[in-house]
Amino acid sequence: MLLLNTKDLIDKCKSGDRKAQQMLYQRLNAPMMGVCIRYMKSVEDAEDVLLEGFYKVFINLKGFNYENENAFFGWVKRIMVNEALMKLRKNKDIQILAINEDLDKEIDVSPLSEMQTADLLKLIRSIPVGYRTVFNLYEVEGYSHQEISEKLGVSVGTSKSQLFKAKKLLKDMLNSKDQEYGS
């Protein structure tokens, strides 16, 4: 069982093999917890999302046609993101207000990609949930503003303004961090 590749593992999971399901869970739980935790406020909420997400993965696996590992990973990730958004909506955590200012002004957040992963995650989690959600969806998951507006039930402008604010805040935090190190 330990030597099974992802496709074989998925096939076994489809037939309801609990050992295979556990193995698949063990392979994917860390990166998927990373997805959940960057959306959710608390570890408990992230665990709930992870559980619900994996449950849906196993339930819907029969209808999934395996092409390659990346596609499968992307599929699981999308399920986790959707679950996280559902949970945020359910908890009424997302409070997104339209802020119409400087929407077209570009803010460079490329230094973020040079950060250590743990620090990066910590930084993203420290910004308000509305900013964080839009930032994650746009910058990390790669959704367009149109898609984000549909997913969150907000206007495209609101999505843009949230992203702008998120980037601004992250940049300020990076700068202050640099200053701390510098001093």
């Binding site: 739980n29 990373g34 665990e47 559980l51 490329s110 992963t117 990066l120 910058e139």
Partner: protein, 193 residues
């Protein structure tokens, strides 16, 4: 445009990077329980069906055998059966020594279910009406409102003490229009012979 590097970096997280007290075994145990719960959902359906049958069946049987409260205990109970075709009843008004105890059935029946010949006019002296669990939308009548019942019987013969369902209209007085239409259950008794 997504920052690909950012996405790659975050997707490659391992449990140390998460930096929280995430307990993967605990989540797996919960997930395993959830998946086990789903494995035999039909057991729950069967259990629910059995429970439903166990609760509804005795109620149905009880309803069938439910005695009609006899308000004429001191004068009524009859030995002999009243077994006569309905047309006889139609032809002759019920004798004064026959008592009718109507009981309003909780649910009105569909008209189509009632086949029988009509009792042209029954002048009843009502003593009591038992209304069991009247439905919210159902008009409930006071005993004093009813003086005349026009009814049709569900079965062609009436046996002594047997409960019979009729459909009826009743009026306060012959001059007024019927106030409603309702399924009734009546039980016929004959006075001491």
């Amino acid at each position: 445009m997504a920052l690909n590097q950012l996405s790659k970096k975050l997707d490659a997280l391992d449990s140390n990077d998460i930096g929280t007290d995430f307990d993967e075994a605990r989540v797996w145990n919960r997930l395993n329980e959830r998946l086990n719960g789903r494995r035999y959902p039909y057991y729950w359906w069967m259990a629910a069906a059995c429970l439903f049958l166990l609760t509804t069946l005795p109620i149905t049987i009880l309803k069938e055998t439910e005695p009609v409260i006899n308000m004429y205990a001191e004068s009524a109970v009859v030995e002999s059966a009243i077994k006569e075709p309905i047309r006889n009843i139609e032809e002759e008004p019920l004798e004064s020594n026959t008592h009718v105890v109507p009981v309003i059935s909780p649910q009105p029946r569909k008209h189509a279910e009632l086949k029988i010949a009509k009792i042209s006019k029954l002048n009843l002296t009502l003593v009591s009406i038992e209304i069991s669990e009247p439905h919210k939308e159902q008009v409930v009548f006071n005993q004093k409102d009813i003086s005349i019942i026009q009814a049709s019987l569900e079965s062609p013969t009436i046996e002594n003490g047997r409960k019979v369902t009729i459909r009826a209209q009743w009026q306060k007085s012959p001059s007024e229009a019927p106030v409603n239409y309702q399924a009734l259950k009546i039980k016929l008794y004959e006075k001491d012979q």
